[in-house]
Symmetry: C2
Subunit: 356 residues, 2 copies
Amino acid sequence: MSYQGLIQTYKSYLPVNEKTPLLTLKEGNTPLIRAENLSEELGLDLYFKYEGLNPTGSFKDRGMVMAVAKAIEEGSRTIMCASTGNTSAAAAAYAARAGLNCIVLIPNNNIALGKLAQAMIYGAKVIAIEGNFDRALEIVREITAKHPITLVNSVNPYRIEGQKTAAFEVVDQLGKAPDVLAIPVGNAGNISAYWKGFKEYHEAGKASSLPKMVGFEAEGAMAIVKGEPILEPETIATAIRIGNPASWKTAVAAAEESGGQINYVTDDEILTAYRMIASREGVFAEPASAASVAGVLKLKREGYFKGGESVVCVLTGNGLKDPNVALKTVNADPLIVPDTEAAVMEAIGKLEEAGV
Amino acid sequence: MSYQGLIQTYKSYLPVNEKTPLLTLKEGNTPLIRAENLSEELGLDLYFKYEGLNPTGSFKDRGMVMAVAKAIEEGSRTIMCASTGNTSAAAAAYAARAGLNCIVLIPNNNIALGKLAQAMIYGAKVIAIEGNFDRALEIVREITAKHPITLVNSVNPYRIEGQKTAAFEVVDQLGKAPDVLAIPVGNAGNISAYWKGFKEYHEAGKASSLPKMVGFEAEGAMAIVKGEPILEPETIATAIRIGNPASWKTAVAAAEESGGQINYVTDDEILTAYRMIASREGVFAEPASAASVAGVLKLKREGYFKGGESVVCVLTGNGLKDPNVALKTVNADPLIVPDTEAAVMEAIGKLEEAGV
């Protein structure tokens, strides 16, 4: 039987009734890729849950399909969010699919059109306000409280419901829950969702154990690690550049209940992992995604592992989402040589010597 | 059972023996998405085979995993191709995965680093020659003929073998062969591969019928339609900007044997379809991918369909591969308004009136 999408596949675990439309872009069903080279090097049984292969290129599709399906069920004709990145792309895609309007509110400072182009091509209506992101979110909450417009930012409770299905898939694909689940932490909704998913699958008898949940913030945005909001969060991993995580408490609970931890990694560690995932395993993920792998490398250095543990690193988004970081990261000046076989062979030899 | 990748899944149909490594990045298994809105509008049962959700973002992964697996089997340590786009990304990713070297040769005119960044982050060694693309391919052929380096451009016969698995998936997902398979035509390898795949599955009793194969070149690169090579092909759909298709004869044979056709679409038609796929169905594909949908729209206008036919449009690559076209396509100046609820509501009203 062909894959029918996330809501159909996991409906018995989701807030779905006979009125909920089976909306789908065939989100989910993303690959669990064994990191063959890094597993050997680290003495672990290491996997990537590659969420970049969701329809809009990030894990946000899982929560958004559920949120938009419920919006339709409730008779809404318009959805709205404050977002400059993956959330707006997911919202816009499902709104297009469902024939709803999608309004995206952004701060007018520092508009990166590249990040917004995806939402706009799906047909989202983008409005910039003379204010910051927090103010944009406030206005979205005010408007959606008063008008028949559905809020689809992460405070929408259906987002977490959809996102928890990624934990189901990990268990289904691995045949068990992993020993450790490593995940980037920004707004902290995803670690909360995975933990909810693992617990529900465990209670349903689908997994006999639960993983330790280890989450990694970026150093410049490590609110949970520091125990206080960061007023001006800064990291190259823009998807987790969040100073006051919405799901702070549930993330801490996930780490504590599971015997895991919330830790942090530096931008340098993130970029090293980002290159390593691509050049050693052939997987191209968003910089923020690499925080999970950077975190596992850090734990390995600190003697966290006995050896042989099964570890799943969540790669939350597709590297194609952020081509500028890729461009800055690679040595972008190719050798230029005459158009002869000899010149090209000489160049190959030079590159091999240089270890480029 | 969890999906084990293309070679494992379809090995009985592939040139695989006990020495062939089961190399995989979990390529294939891409979604078949029913175009709910366009189906209704066109009176067809229309689907997208969304190949943009392959690991490197295009259908090239299917052929490349097979070509690289065979290179490993034959003892090769280095693969090489001439490419500035999707082929180089796929080659570099599988080389990284397999621990091989990957050399990418490009012409030094008009180097679009954005397109190359993906190959470079996977670790490919890029060399630019003082010559054009044809000369780069010639040098690759010369070098790979003399040295223990494997050519992975489309003349590598294993590429077509891997690519044909997409036809198997279409049949497995749809439960039958579609009435019509619509596909962009550039180098013409993919239409040839699909036709091979449909025929083999039909012979194996997996499908009781065969589709009509309808292929679409871009007007500025319509060598097959014109019956002669195009010296300076030009189209916004860079992935099919090819003036002398390598698989010309097999593509024509696929169209003729199946009762289909090779036709063409204009850049305007491609861009219209590109926006329509995103804004009506929530699927973001490369501009070249939209040639298949543009072609179906053209055939519909010309009265080709009786109505109700099942039609699968192959969307060959991910829209995130070419963010610049998206940026140029959308109205990229968001409305800027004061940070009040009233101002935002007024802006929403204006956008709705303007039908943006």
